[in-house]
């Protein structure tokens, strides 16, 4: 097992390096390169030359890449030209907020979609099944940014809190600015953005649980379990569900890029102080070191989650052997 994890970890390294190369090359593709952000009417060509030298941009590209990569490994991710603070600090401050939102949305979606998927598979073509498929289709077809806007219109603009007369739910941010930490306040800020992301995940999750369950239900060992005289509940929950959830674990690893996409949109709409919003703002202001940092951090998280998924899958599925 230890050996397997080590081997997978070693396999992940080339992927991260490849992604870092891509990120680096993309940045250099931008006209004007990383210097573009410094260009302004007040700056002379001589100043630009000097900056170019100071920033180490006057050496060949592969050496620049090597310098950049070794700085990254030493923990020096550059400085944001917007805030003047280290990129790594900017990212680590926000990474928790993004993961917090994504994980809540992810678990919330599973809590809805597993019971829904199981019921709809066991009662195929019933009303519940129709409802589940409809939800899956709606989740797939609704633009999530628009759903965010509609939820804000309904719960922030239209419906008022009967006690205070203010909006029922806050339309942005993670907590009320200037107030002390309060669980209720945090929860209120979480509801709308989390609902959007839950709905975004729900489509895929319902479909996967439903089809996973349908596959399992038609297998011989389920018929055997029924024939043994076990009641339906035990067969479905103990025999079928546990096996049908296995494929779901694999998609968790594959879903992380999608979750980051969703988080970027949700964070931008709900002014949620996460990595997606940081990336969006840094693009707008041509803050290259932040853009590179976020992309790289995303890549590392995605590769790690893929790894984690494989390991968990191996633990849960005794048919997988590590050798």
């Amino acid at each position: 097992m230890g050996k397997y994890i080590l081997r997978r970890l070693l396999q992940a390294i080339p992927l991260v390096i490849l992604i870092s190369m891509t990120v680096f090359l993309l940045m250099n593709l931008i006209p004007g390169g990383p210097l573009a952000a410094y260009e302004s009417p007040g700056i002379t060509p001589e100043d630009l030359e000097r900056l170019k030298h100071e920033l180490g941009l006057d050496v060949p590209l592969h050496i620049q890449y090597w310098n950049w990569l070794s700085a990254i490994i030493r923990g020096n991710w550059g400085t944001s030209i917007v805030s003047g603070r280290p990129v790594l600090t900017e990212i680590t401050e926000r990474i928790f907020n993004t993961l917090y939102l994504s994980i809540v949305a992810f678990i919330g979606s599973l809590l809805i979609s597993i019971p829904l998927g199981v019921t709809s598979a066991t009662r195929q073509y019933s009303k519940i099944d129709n409802l589940a498929t409809t939800i899956a289709f709606f989740g797939q077809s609704i633009p999530i940014f628009w759903m965010g806007l509609i939820l804000i219109i309904i719960f922030n603009v239209m419906i008022k809190n009967p006690n205070t007369g203010g909006p029922l739910l806050p339309g942005g941010g993670m907590s009320t600015i200037g107030s002390d930490f309060s669980f209720e306040d945090r929860l209120k800020h979480l509801i709308l953005p989390a609902s959007v992301l839950i709905f975004f995940n729900l489509g895929t999750h319902v479909r996967y649980t439903r089809s996973g369950m349908l596959d399992v239900l038609h297998q011989d060992y389920i018929r055997t379990a029924h024939a043994k005289g076990l009641n339906k509940r035990t067969v479905i929950l103990k025999h079928a569900l546990r096996n049908s959830l296995l494929p779901l674990i694999t998609i968790i690893g594959l879903e992380l890029p999608g979750l980051f996409n969703g988080a970027l949109i949700t964070e931008t709409i709900f002014s949620w102080p996460g990595m997606g919003r940081l990336f969006f703002n840094s693009i707008d202001r041509a803050d290259y070191s932040v853009m590179m940092g976020v992309l790289l951090m995303n890549a590392i998280l995605i590769v790690l989650s893929g790894l984690l998924t494989d390991i968990v899958y191996g633990f849960l599925n005794p048919r997988i052997r590590f050798d």
């Binding site: 992927l15 490849l18 992604i19 891509t22 993309l26 593709l29 931008i30 006209p31 004007g32 573009a36 289709f137 709606f138 797939q140 077809s141 609704i142 633009p143 999530i144 940014f145 628009w146 806007l149 509609i150 804000i152 219109i153 603009v157 239209m158 594959l254 890029p257 999608g258 980051f260 996409n261 970027l264 949109i265 931008t268 709409i269 990336f279 969006f280 693009i283 707008d284 041509a286 853009m291 976020v294 992309l295 995303n298 890549a299 995605i302 590769v303 893929g306």
Partner: protein, 313 residues
């Protein structure tokens, strides 16, 4: 055939059953598709949307770019049934002008991703070995980067070129979305090719002296068409959503050209006093994509020979 006997309620089937000939593929697919009510509804909705997209701009002869300062942010009324926006432009007319661009982007983007994905998948699946390995690792690599982040970066890249042809119009957007969304198609086509390449009809064609290109395009690809058609249909919907997201975030088609996405760009700022500006363009995207996805689902059922044909009650 058992399925034919079950289908007597179907007028097409009854004529077919009366005559001793086999039903054609088209008849079979159509009779299966007809049973998918949501898909039929999807087709009707799409037809209406398409007709409105074609005819509304012609009939009303409204200039979607013309501003009117006397009628800023008017709520929906008999004159402007969807209301007006922050520049006094009629939202109903702009919606159908925008539909032309949004739908065109959806279809054109699908074509690009289907083209790239088919070539990638066909080469990987047909030749296997090293080609398969390299192309599929590349596909996995592309899938492991969040697409929206790359799209935003490419869009920004195009914007900074200051080249009028490259920034703001629909064509660069079509290219970048297309180039970044072929991966699913490539995997699908590869799977089909892997399954089909060792079939007897491929051997037969090779024995007759066909070259690789002929086998790939004339013999294997048509057999993979069913799943490709379904995937392509769903890609149109996905591309419409991607374009609208990009335009909403300000990195897609630039105003004043209307698309469903950039019509929503200012919606968040004026949500409190002009909520109608946020509702209608989004509803148009939602309904269109929903209809496309149901049609895709109907096609999946209709084209899959394993689908059990239900008798209508």
């Amino acid at each position: 055939m058992a399925t034919q006997a079950k289908l007597i309620t179907d007028p097409l089937a009854s004529t077919a059953a009366a005559m001793p000939r086999e039903r054609t593929m088209r008849e079979l697919v159509w009779s299966r598709f007809r049973q998918h009510r949501a898909a039929l509804l999807g087709v009707s909705v799409l037809t209406v949307i398409l007709l409105l997209t074609i005819f509304v701009p012609i009939v009303t002869n409204y200039d979607p770019l013309k501003t009117n300062v006397d009628h800023i942010r008017e709520a929906p009324s008999a004159q402007n049934i969807f209301g007006t926006d922050e520049l006094g432009r009629d939202l109903f007319n702009r919606l159908w002008a925008g539909a032309r661009i949004s739908l065109m982007i959806g279809v054109a983007t699908m074509m690009i991703s289907v083209m790239i994905g088919t070539i990638m998948g066909a080469v990987a699946g047909y030749y296997g070995g090293a080609a398969d390995n390299i192309l599929m690792r590349f596909t996995d690599f592309m899938l492991s980067i969040p697409q929206l982040f790359l799209l935003l970066m490419f869009a920004q890249l195009l914007r900074t070129t200051n080249e009028p042809a490259l920034s703001g119009g629909p064509f660069p957007i079509i290219i970048i979305i297309g180039v970044l969304s072929w991966m699913g198609i490539a995997r699908l086509v590869r799977g089909e090719f892997l399954a089909l390449r060792s079939k007897d009809f491929v051997e037969a064609s090779r024995a007759l002296g066909s070259n690789d290109a002929r086998i790939i395009f004339r013999h294997i690809l048509p057999n993979a068409a069913s799943s490709l058609i379904v995937a392509a249909t769903l890609r149109v919907g996905a591309a419409i959503i991607t374009e609208s997201t990009l335009s909403f975030l300000g990195f897609g088609v630039q105003p004043p050209t209307p698309t469903w996405g950039n019509m929503l760009k200012n919606a968040q700022a004026q949500m409190t006093y002009a909520p109608w500006t946020a509702i209608f363009p989004g509803l148009a995207i939602f309904i269109t994509v929903l209809a496309i996805n149901y049609v895709g689902d109907g096609l999946r059922d209709a084209l899959d020979p394993r689908t059990i044909v239900k008798t209508e009650k």
